[in-house]
């Protein structure tokens, strides 16, 4: 008997069930099909303006920084200002996301923009987030050429643009949007929920930023135009 068969046999013996009980099968199929929502905290259930404000607070609680911009056209200046404030070279790397290509980077003449994944040599990256979650100040990143996963983790400083209209109150809303975009059960290779910059408490329970991932996380919210 293979390991698989042995495990299933013991599970069914212990539970005193068989694999072909239609009631059990229906119950499982229904849950997978309907994916009912559990308890969703009231905290995030707010009209848009208040939701954005909650998102801002929660991002800051998570020890990231955040600016709210009136338009996409303001992104280059905000990125340049952030790099300057951190005493970093005016250089960023980002993926193929069309929304990033539409940003008028040329407005910042000294800003060097390269495209592609990270090999660990870049100090700062810019990603475009699929969504934000106000409940916990979380950014939702999807893997792929648009926003390579390595850009989320290897550079020392991660800058993330999110459209205000994409900030939801809760995680459940994001899953539904993803189902709409990709199909009922499909997922990108990786979905990264990012809540603040990397940290560790492993040395004497002292909480320090910048463990393995980015030392700082900067969020740029673009208001609806």
């Amino acid at each position: 008997m293979s390991g698989r068969d042995a495990i299933f046999a013991t599970i069914r013996k212990s539970l005193r069930v068989t694999g072909d009980d239609s009631l059990r099968r229906e119950s499982v199929a229904a849950r997978l099909e309907k994916h009912p929502r559990g308890i969703v905290p009231a905290r995030g259930q707010k009209p848009e303006a208040e939701r954005t404000e909650l998102f801002r607070q929660m991002v800051e609680n998570a020890k990231a920084s955040i600016v709210i911009l009136d338009s996409k056209d303001d992104v280059p200046a905000a990125v340049a200002a952030y790099l300057r404030s951190k005493n970093l070279p005016q250089s960023i790397r980002h993926g193929d996301d069309e929304r990033l290509s539409l940003i008028p980077w040329a407005k910042e003449r000294t800003l060097e923009v390269t495209k592609g994944a990270s090999d660990g040599a870049q100090l700062a990256s810019v990603s475009y987030s699929f969504a934000g979650v106000a409940e916990s100040g979380t950014l939702v990143m999807l893997s792929g050429a648009d926003n390579p996963t390595t850009l989320n983790f290897l550079p020392d400083h991660h800058l993330v643009v999110v459209d205000e209209r994409d900030i939801a109150g809760d995680y459940e809303t994001i899953w539904d949007r993803l189902r709409e975009r990709l199909g009922a059960k499909a997922m990108p290779r990786v979905v990264n929920w990012i809540t603040g910059p990397s940290r560790s408490g492993d040395i004497e329970q002292t909480h320090l930023l910048g463990a393995h991932g980015p030392r700082s996380l900067h969020v740029l919210v673009v208001r609806n135009s």
Partner: protein
Amino acid sequence: MSQPVNSPHFNANARKALDDAFLQKALARSEKGFIERRKAAVEKLPEYDALRDSARDLKDHILAHLDLYLEAYEKNVIASGGHVHWAANADEANEIILSICKRLDAKKVAKGKSMISEETGLNAYLEENGIRPIETDLGEYIIQLRGETPSHLIAPALHVTKEQIEADFRRAHVDLPPERNLDEPTSLLAEARAMLREKFLAADVGITGANFLIAETGSSVIVTNEGNGDLSQTLAKAHIVISSIEKVVPTREDAGTFLRLLARTASGLDLSVYTTFSTGARREGDPDGPLEYHVVLLDNGRSNMLGGKFQEMLRCIRCGACMNHCPVFHAVGGHAYGWVYPGPMGAVLTPSLVGVEKGGQLPNASTFCGRCEEVCPVRIPLPKLMRNWREREFERHLQPAAARYGLGVWAAFAKRPAVYRAATSLAMKMLRLFGGKGRLRRLPLASGWTEYRDFPAPEGETFQSLWKKRGAAR
């Protein structure tokens, strides 16, 4: 191969732990932070208790349908281009992982934190077979340098002080200039970051655990604050997930229920910094990510726990809150428990997985204060489950003869009230004679008590005989 069991020596381990000044300092330092951070996070979420109830009910539903959710999970992993491997025990899991590494000609493995791999003794097994696993979680890295095992579920190096870490780094990082200052946690972190960055970039295979497996999509979920699990799995040629079978949850929404509890209970964050849902290998057009994605599903005795007296233990989501609130853990730390899982959850799980003959000490080493159950995010009745183990031991005559005999004598009297009254009246009078100063500094048969405490002397007569005597006066 699996991790050797040192649990039968709990008492000796505990004594050693109590005499270890470094450990006692480390334990005293961490106790308050865990408790306060959890409390603050929980108080900010009014739905917290309702979430606990629903998480408990959801886990019970999952466990009752575990076979079917595992089938659905397997189907969806395969559909998304991943591979599923089933391991009935530790040896099988290790062999599966080794064979994947060998096929890929892998020499270096970057490892995210995984208690399941501690259970199987994976690191030692890979090393014996010429493969170098590097733990990348900072705490795990520190204890790997020290040749130790984790002493806590989420803070594996809880027992180590920063001075000890500095000494370990100076010993292991041979290129480190002696004049480099490593006095502060920040400088230690910077050193570890630089050192491990090279390891991530050089790794052939990345191995991580899983906090949850999602049946709906075939995804594995890990949570970390450091990002080490992400670097381990993103940069290598293959990502191998090692997980136990009870980690499966039905849907993404259901994972959310547990995620809302996990970080708050464990570390006081609303959410861990990185929550990562991984589904299959690198896709067409992806510029990064592993080329292969494997999941190794370990049973190792869990399927036997279903449907029985210990099924509730399989609800555990490994947050560590039970040990963070345990007076025994606070006194002796995690290593005294002698196997992979410490604290109250370990006291129930260890005998389930290694047998009560080896793990039976642990469920006895509890005051039953109940604080573990009070803080458990999935409401596992830990004291009740520990008592179940004591019953198993009693039935099988596994308890020490002296304890059994003492209890038996007591029970024999207690079951005969008239004899009891006569005997205890006499005994208390005698004890009183020796305790004229109000307390006894030494007491035969109770040296465990009087080694450390005085024994308050009885008043002399029993309440029942006095009550009878004074009956007329009432």
